[in-house]
């Protein structure tokens, strides 16, 4: 069943068009990776769904309803959460306050804090610390926990592994797999193509604001991906 349907989506920053006629679909329970070079429009795509970048008409439908033109705080109430690129923790808030901010919109149905701490046991020990005193990996856990606590049906993660050590990235992806097992639909934007292909069920490759390739992660050939990624015919 399709949870998120995007059809013919265009997005603009002022006069600059960042996305061209994007078609995209996420089924309930799927994990989807969006890959592509820098500036391909991956982050813009997530930000458009989250409402940070405006879109028009019926281009984005979530659970059958058009969500174009809604503001970010309305969209998160519908059940879409974004872990923004660079984590964007609230610097003057403690770890626990950051997590609680994620539950701001939800009067009922938010995850209890204990459930987040079960997923990220390290955070419980440091819950009263200023959020930026944590290591990069732990900060990323706070960012994921903060998005998850709103009990989203769709969780979008932008560049989770940016600047993190391989071991930490491994742990983060194990946690993401656990989150997926809970029935949360995932869209991840990932620079590391190998990581993306290993984790996701399906992959979309973006190139200069357009979808250049779409397919099941296991079925894609490396050559296909390279071409879609770099846009060079015959490049290895």
């Amino acid at each position: 069943m399709s949870l998120l349907t995007v059809s013919g989506l265009n997005a603009y920053y002022g006069d600059f068009q960042a996305l061209f006629e994007i078609d995209f679909e996420a089924n309930a329970g799927e994990a989807i990776a969006v890959i592509g070079a820098n500036g391909a429009g991956k982050s813009t795509f997530l930000n458009t769904i989250a409402g940070n970048v405006k879109s028009q008409g019926n281009a984005v439908r979530f659970d059958g309803e058009a969500i174009c033109g809604l503001r970010p705080w309305q969209i998160v109430r519908r059940g879409i959460a974004l872990v923004p690129e660079g984590r964007r923790l609230f610097s003057s808030l403690t770890v626990e306050e950051n997590l609680l901010m994620g539950a701001y919109a939800k009067k009922n149905g938010a995850w209890p804090l204990a459930q987040i701490y079960e997923l990220f046991p390290q955070l419980k020990l440091k819950c009263k610390q200023p959020s930026l005193s944590l290591s990069g990996g732990e900060q990323q856990m706070v960012a994921i926990g903060r998005a998850l606590i709103s009990n989203p049906r769709l969780l979008m993660c932008d560049e989770l592994s940016l600047g993190l050590a391989p071991m930490v990235i491994h742990d983060i992806y194990e946690t993401l797999a656990a989150i997926k097992d809970l029935g949360v639909t995932l869209i991840i934007v990932e620079q590391n193509v190998r990581q993306a292909l290993a984790f996701a069920d399906r992959v979309y490759c973006f190139q200069e604001g357009r979808v250049s390739l779409e397919g099941r992660a296991r079925a894609l050939k490396q050559e296909q991906v390279s071409r879609a990624y770099f846009g060079l015919d015959g490049a290895a």
């Binding site: 503001r71 109430r77 964007r88 003057s92 808030l93 901010m101 701001y104 919109a105 005193s133």
Partner: protein, 290 residues
């Protein structure tokens, strides 16, 4: 000797009032990086509204007008932010400055039209002239003491709201990162309006206490705005207790300066402010940085 102690005591009590002027200014700046140039005029507006409400409702004491004035000013602040100030916010911090400057002119002229240019004073009743005797021949006025208690309590309440409630957490988060706060479900235009509404509650209380303490007229606002700015800057931006201390330091400089000569009162305050600005540009109690 007791004369100096007296000046310092008076300074502490007057400083609490300055801190009250400054608390709302500081809150609004902290949450939305907006400098409200009309803040002083809104305090004067509150004082005039208190006077008008007292006549209208026949309250025996001006303090009672706060029952109506506090919710009224909250509503004024909320609507002002929602309708006029929110659209002006953005990358350019000059736009809200210009708009609130215009608002200041409008309020001053509106008050001139409605209440004339006459100097006014609010009537607090017996509390105005009562005093409490202290040892060593000192005495403190009941009204200044009451001002100190009320201001400190209100700043304490603001601090509690900011650090112990969900609303306060959202205000601090929005201050850190506006767009990420939106992603968390914070309706930022509404939150900004709440912040200005809360600031106007402090303005209402400040207006009544100032109006009872001193005379005022339609163009008193800018004088009071200066004290508010100075208190915030001495204390350090983003710290309410720092603002309280800043107000007290400013007022103590004024009251001790006045002991040398009445003409030194304002000058001493401004000189101490300048000295602190040069020596500690961040203020005395800046918010801890991470």
């Amino acid at each position: 000797m007791s004369g100096w102690i007296d000046s310092i005591l008076q300074g502490i009590m007057l400083g609490a009032l300055y801190a009250l002027f400054a608390a709302g200014l500081s809150l609004v700046f902290g949450v939305m990086r907006m400098v409200n140039v009309a803040h002083g005029d809104l305090i004067v507006l509150s004082a005039f509204l208190a006077m008008w409400l007292q006549r209208l409702m026949g309250f025996s004491s001006t303090f009672l007008t706060l029952i109506l004035l506090v919710p009224l000013m909250f509503a004024v602040g909320y609507l002002l932010q929602r309708t006029i100030l929110n659209p002006a916010l953005g990358e350019d911090i000059l736009r809200p400055v210009l708009i609130t400057f215009g608002l200041s002119v409008i309020i001053q002229n509106g008050l001139l039209q409605a209440f004339s240019a006459d100097s006014q004073k609010l009537h607090g009743g017996r509390v105005e002239v009562a005093s409490i005797a202290l040892p060593a021949g000192l005495a403190v006025g009941t009204l200044p003491l009451l001002t100190l208690v009320v201001s400190t309590a209100l700043i304490g309440l603001l601090q509690w709201v900011l650090y112990r409630t969900k609303l306060g957490r959202a205000l601090r988060a929005t201050s850190d990162d506006l767009s990420t706060a939106g992603l968390m479900g914070v309706n930022t235009p509404h939150l900004f309006a709440m912040a200005t509404g809360i600031a106007m509650v402090t303005v209402a209380v400040a207006g009544v206490f100032t109006g009872i303490r001193a005379s005022f007229d339609a163009v008193s606002g800018p004088d009071w705005l200066i004290f508010a700015f100075e208190a915030v800057i001495i204390g350090g931006l983003g710290s309410l207790w720092g603002t309280l201390a800043g107000g007290m330091i400013l007022a103590m400089a004024q009251t001790t300066g006045a002991r040398f000569s009445p003409s030194w009162q304002m000058l001493a305050g401004h000189l101490v402010f300048l000295a602190i600005l040069i020596l500690w540009p961040q203020g005395l109690f800046p918010r801890r940085t991470e």
